[in-house]
Amino acid sequence: MAGYEIDPCVKCEEAMQPYLDRVLSDAERHEAEEHLATCSHCAKRYRFEESLRVFVRKCCDEQMPPELKQKLASLRTPL
């Protein structure tokens, strides 16, 4: 396989979602981290993705209306 190498940035891009989902094997994670330590192009995009996830979660953090909470409590079996 001499001379044949996948572009490390392409490989790192493919690893991003599983990396952030923490489902990579130790070896795969290590490989991604090694690349990220030296490649600011990929490191920026990983940081962006991470902050995007946090932001999405924050935007969807809609409080439950208090009346609904009371309604749910009223569904309990009476003692």
Partner: protein, 195 residues
Amino acid sequence: MGETDTNGARKVAAEARDRVRFEEEALALSDQVYRVARRLVSTREEAEDLVQETYARAFRSWRSFTPGTNLRAWLLRILTNLNIDRGRRKQRAPDEQPLEEGDYFLYNRLEQATRDGNVDEERVVERLSQDDIVGALSVVPHDFRDVVVLVDIGDFTYQDAAQILDIPIGTVMSRLHRGRRILKRELADRATGGS
């Protein structure tokens, strides 16, 4: 009182205790259940109805919950089943539009849209508004959205999502992959004014 009566009374009391504990634990999770429900359906009213029906059913069938297992996942399984039963998902055909290749696509688009091209990646996200996020998520087709909402907003594992939706874990992964891509495509269009 005879011995049988005493045993019977004890059993009833023990069951009542278990039921009360179940109900309290379920209610303590209601904020989290609502948050997921709110993003699975379009309106607040639908989300409220769905959560109420879920709790009504959960309280009726509390005996079928196995103590020590994941109660939040159990509640969400009831909720997603009810949501499907109510036919809320018979909507548009699955998203067949081609997706942008690559996961860096949204960042690249936002970066291009920034004049000097030199952006702080943690601030690029500020180009998106809450309306962008909520709006983009709401147009992701249901099959994909269910998985994205459970994993990215509900913080469920792939395994939990597979059990909740009763689909194989491989399907969870492929729908998550596609759902996130669709979400990012929609965000890119909203943030940079159409493709």
